[in-house]
Amino acid sequence: MSKTVHKLRPSDYWRIGEHESWFAEMAAKGLHLKKMGIHFAKFDKGELKKMRYRIDVSIKKKITSEQIKMYEESGWDYVTSYQFFHVFSSPEELNAPELHTDPAEQSYTLKELDKKLASNAIIVVVAMLFIIGLQYSIWFLDGTPTLVMVGGSAIQQIILAIFLGYYAYQSLLASVSIRALRRNLIEGKPIDHYAPWKKHYRLHSTIAFLFTIVVGLSAIIPFVQLIKMETKTLPEASTDLPIVRLADVEENPAMVRAEPSYVSDNVDWGNRYSYDWSPLAPVQYVTDEQGVVPGEMWEDKSGEYTPGIRTQVYQLNIPAIADNLITDLIERYRYEDSMEDYIETEHPDLDLLIVHEKQEKKEVFAVKGKAVMYVRYYGYADINVVIENVVEKINLISE
């Protein structure tokens, strides 16, 4: 019973000469080619033997018995096939005649493959442009790319785009290489059966390794998010969360929590905090809080005074994107309001402060260090009280 050994194939399948010399070097080490997979080659472990390997190209996946027989009679044994490539071997001491003695004739065997690879490359490139265009448009749909990226889903999109791009590049390279090989053959230059394979082998295995890691990691992201994200009812007592509390803004002991309007999974969504994670912003909170002051009315007498507050806060891994995130947050939540109504002001304890006030709606956008905070408050408290609270709470995650 012989032992089988698997090895990562040295390079791209269309590098015929490099594969031939690789197989020969492996045989010299006692590894005899058995089968070729997409990424791995399977060898039988046996005695060290000096072998010659030749790869024949045919667009037909199956090679005829006539061809196998004809080659056999000349001392070449059929080994295996992969895609359009058929491998034959012959012991060196047999001194079998070369399979192809006429490069120009051999170029005809590449013609169909050349055509196929060319149309393949065109299809892949068009599909790639289409998909990347689609992703791009989704990503920029509401003009808030940084917000989408911080949310986490864009990272996989980018990786998918890189993956597609690489695939398209490979298809193009295959097409160009086979065409070049065909030209060389037509001009009478035979395939170099001893082409050095080590350089491409190293490059190829490095890229394969990196790709596995990157794609593997990106596949983990949604699971990490699933495990890490959670939503709970916000406790009425003060917490150590980096959020602005309604009670601290209203400063009215008469205020009580509003009756839950929407409860799901035991969470009062009007008074909740949600934690989320993404590679760019490993700490993210969104909280909502709703209160009511019994007996007090909104000024327009539309009903009982029910102030509300929402905090969105992000701790960023890359503080440099904070300003872009603020711009996107404004864009995302400004609705029909004009960008000019959002006023940038100076604050000694903040890197950036933008405020927006429209009747009882008060919005504060703040940056400090790694932290980005967006607070939207409906009520009669002064906006400066909101700002004070933002300054106090943003310190919890600014470093």
Binding site: P97, L99, T101
Partner: protein, 106 residues
């Protein structure tokens, strides 16, 4: 590529020449070596490629297939093409008389 009457490759020419007598794969390789006076040793890959291409183009046909051996022979179309190519090559040699004159001058 379908043969369009242009110059043949050396491999095509000799295979057609050898197939003036019906023959099969392995024998054919020897026959080619023979008719080329040992000058041309054709590899099995080249031979197989030429055979399948010329069969598709109707220059040769499968005379006999007993399952083990396939015997090929030239078709009238193939012989016609071979003779045209022969005429072309002969003209090439005749046109090269310049070289002979140069040789004689030396």
């Amino acid at each position: 590529m379908a043969y369009n009457g242009g110059p043949m490759t050396e491999a095509m020419y000799y295979v057609l020449l050898a197939l003036m007598r019906p023959n099969h794969g392995y024998q054919l390789m020897h026959a080619i070596t023979e008719v080329s006076n040992d000058r041309l040793k054709m590899g099995p890959g080249t031979l197989y490629g030429v055979l399948s291409r010329m069969q598709k183009d109707g220059l040769i046909l499968l005379a006999e297939d007993d399952g083990r051996r396939k015997t090929y022979q030239i078709t009238p179309k193939g012989e016609h093409a071979l003779r045209i190519e022969y005429g072309r090559l002969k003209a090439l040699i005749e046109d090269s008389s310049i070289l002979r004159e140069v040789d004689e001058d030396e």
